[in-house]
């Protein structure tokens, strides 16, 4: 009885979590531009439309460019902080980590207004760098957290052994730390990549008129009425996300990367 109740709970939650994914996927395959589910006369028609439309492909490439560069910038901020905390127990790094966590205490709309004000004050409006740098610092807490798990999981004996055999700081970093930390750094970067890809309000407020990302384009089309290409955009996102997390699961231990402990 208890086992049955537990199973029912799991099934209901799985349905709840999967339903929007399934519905959007279904609607994207409708032949006619209608919001019907299950799809009638399923076809790839709107996928063709999506990838041959300059507006949609431009939005997709903006999104991918912003997300990739934001992930790169955020790791250049997070790695030195995590490393100096671990290696030198630097208190400055502790302070920087606290600052890096600050954006998590601010609701996204507040961060949007904050960066809108900041980039306007600099007179640097409507540029793609605004979105990239804003996303990089907003999400920098994620690579920091995953790198902290990574550094904690390094067995000090490896580092000790490398040092006794004459390796210096740089050598240790390159030959011991980099291979051990790679999955954690990749995990942090993929999180930044995916959250940046999906972020709407900051991207819209700092450069939304000039640099249209995929969520902005979907939202703008939402206001003009239904277009099946929106669902295709959503599916492209899910595909990118699943590939990204699939990559994490392939190169590393997913439960461990998420901070879990398996028995």
């Amino acid at each position: 009885m208890r086992a049955a109740a537990r199973r029912l709970f799991l099934v209901l939650i799985a349905v709840f979590l999967a339903a929007p994914l399934v519905v959007v996927a279904g609607v994207s395959f409708n032949r006619e531009p209608r919001m019907t589910f299950p799809p009638r006369n399923p076809s790839w028609r709107w996928y063709g439309v999506f990838f041959s439309d300059d507006g949609w492909t431009a939005a997709l490439s903006h999104s991918l460019e912003i997300a990739a560069l934001a992930a790169l910038v955020s790791i250049t901020i997070a790695l030195p902080i995590a490393y100096t905390r671990w290696r030198y127990r630097s208190s400055v790094a502790g302070w920087l980590e606290a600052i890096a966590r600050l954006p998590f205490l601010l609701p996204l709309i507040v961060l949007g207004i904050l960066f809108l004000a900041f980039w306007s004050w600099l007179g640097h409006v409507g540029r793609i760098e605004n979105t990239i740098l804003s996303h990089a610092v907003v999400f920098v807490g994620l690579p920091l957290a995953s790198l902290a798990i990574g550094f904690r999981s390094i067995d000090p004996a490896y580092v000790e052994a490398a040092r006794t055999m004459g390796a210096r700081g740089g050598d240790v970093f390159r030959t011991v730390l980099v291979p051990l930390l790679l999955p954690y750094a990749a995990c942090g970067m993929i999180f930044v990549f995916i959250l940046s890809l999906n972020e709407y309000i900051i991207a819209y407020l700092v450069a939304g008129y000039e640099v249209e990302t995929l969520p902005i384009k979907v939202f703008n089309s939402l206001r003009m009425g239904f277009q099946p290409t929106m669902c295709v955009g959503a599916m492209v996102f899910v595909a990118v996300g699943v590939l990204g997390f699939g990559a994490i699961a392939a190169i590393g231990d997913l439960p461990k990367l998420l901070g879990g402990r398996l028995r």
Binding site: L17, P20, V23
Partner: protein, 276 residues
Amino acid sequence: MLRSAALLTWPALALLALVVLPLLLLIRISLAPPDPDGLWTSGVVFDAYRNLAEPAWFATLVYSLCIAVLVAAIGLVLGFPLTLLITRMRRPHQVTWLVLLLATLTLSDVLIAFSWQVMLSKRIGLSQMLVWLRLMPQVDSLTPSVGAVIASIVYLVMPFTMLTLYPSLSAMPTEQLEAARMLGASPRVVFQTVVIPLNRAAALTAFAVSALLALGTYVCPIVLGRPQNWTMAVIISNAALAGHNVPLAAAMSLALVAAALVLIAAAFFGARHRWR
């Protein structure tokens, strides 16, 4: 020492320039007179904060906080047992569930709002199912409504709630649960006296994370709600974009953050008091 200073130069510059400076600027702008043609002008006035004294504004703030608390509570009530069950599963099942959670994370709030709009529309599934279950008299669109807003935001925050709970729940040793059970404690007692105290900090953090996320979402209320269901996030962006009053948006943002932090501090304090 010198090495660590050299390594930290870029992170320090980036964080000071892109987090601390904009935050100070936001505070400064909240005290500036608005400029209808531009953004703001120099000078110090308290007009923006005076606007916050209006009862209509205050009612929206309270309403937004209530929605955020409700969403965070639902997220926790569903997410806590689910995460607990996931951490007790065997590895392949665990990975499958984690990938499902992460897949929902790849949906932007724009897409979540849109897919809920599709699901709740007249022609698709849910409303027809409710009619069949006799919970609704006839097929009808379930949006816009406050229920749709809450359901979509719960969906939005669930993966974050669960990923915050996951490390703590997965570190909980099964032996302790078994020991309590062997000593004759009912599952309910085990849950209340072992599981909750061991994971209280994680549960509170998950609550705070989801409440803050819920407070900041702009798309769900605007797509799935009526104007009277709009939250602070919508009001703030309207002030900045439609009203061209960035100082007012800045002041409202700061007030929202202050209210959120007070709420979260109260939750932490209350929980410590309750379960000590």
